[in-house]
Symmetry: C2
Subunit: 154 residues, 2 copies
């Protein structure tokens, strides 16, 4: 009986997860989350140097900042297909993207422009010294937050 | 008693996972896996068009191919720190990267050059028609596989 109840509980839980993973937008959601991991990692390298947690390394700083600038210029619209937000009950467990990412897209586009400009400035300065990172990383972080504030839960 | 045993079983399982997640290389592993998701997604868009599974769309094809070319040129060495392969018992559950990714790095670097060249050719051709994708996607796939064959489990 216990086993039966356990199996039943499992059945009650599983469909959501597997439905979400099979959803036509699941690949786009996984890809954009992967993209964010790449951004986070490169920001982390620069942030650690800016805070003096790791020694400044010009080549590594340049690489990380160049990666951010390249990422900001990617044409990633396909990763945010219409309807892939968390107001969709089938997707709410696998994405924190709010519908505002689409309904407020004009604002997102403005923030994105600032993001591109900020990453370019950071890329130009990151190899010149830790001061180059410190002077420019804030604007990149602000543009990250600018988009998250509009379009991301939490 | 059952609850105690269940708690004990959980304790026996959790440390591995949490140890791996807390490992200094965990962020790099997560980032490179995210990077691979971005590649897979963009390859998927082009592959679906090449196979006629979705209608050819010049703008989308160009965007996806440009993204691949930009990704191939990223300076991502930091995502593959020495010792972050699956011969490390602490990491074997979270990475499929083989030690050969480092010990055979000269071969990896050769494949990477081919990858950059192949993505550039694909980016130049993808917007010209589905034939442009079909003529060039194979070499990109080959370079993906070339690296995986050397450095990735399965």
């Amino acid at each position: 009986m216990k086993r039966y109840i356990a199996a039943l509980a499992l059945t009650a839980v599983l469909p959501t997860a597997s439905f979400a993973a099979d959803h036509p937008h699941a690949d786009a959601i996984e890809a954009r989350q992967g993209f964010m991991e790449v951004l986070k990692f490169n920001m982390g390298i620069l942030g650690a140097m800016a805070k003096g947690k790791v020694d400044y390394d010009a080549a590594q700083a340049s690489a990380a900042a160049n990666n951010l600038a390249a990422a900001a210029k990617m044409e990633n619209g396909a990763m945010w297909p219409e309807g892939s937000d968390n107001s969709n009950p089938a997707l709410k467990d696998i994405t924190e993207a709010l519908p505002e990412g689409w309904s407020e897209y004009a604002k997102i586009a403005e923030v994105q422009k600032k993001w591109v400009a900020a990453t370019e400035k950071l890329a130009a300065a990151a190899g010149t010294g830790v001061g180059g990172i410190r002077a420019n990383i804030g604007d990149v972080g602000k543009s990250c937050k600018g988009c998250h504030d509009i379009a991301r839960k939490d």
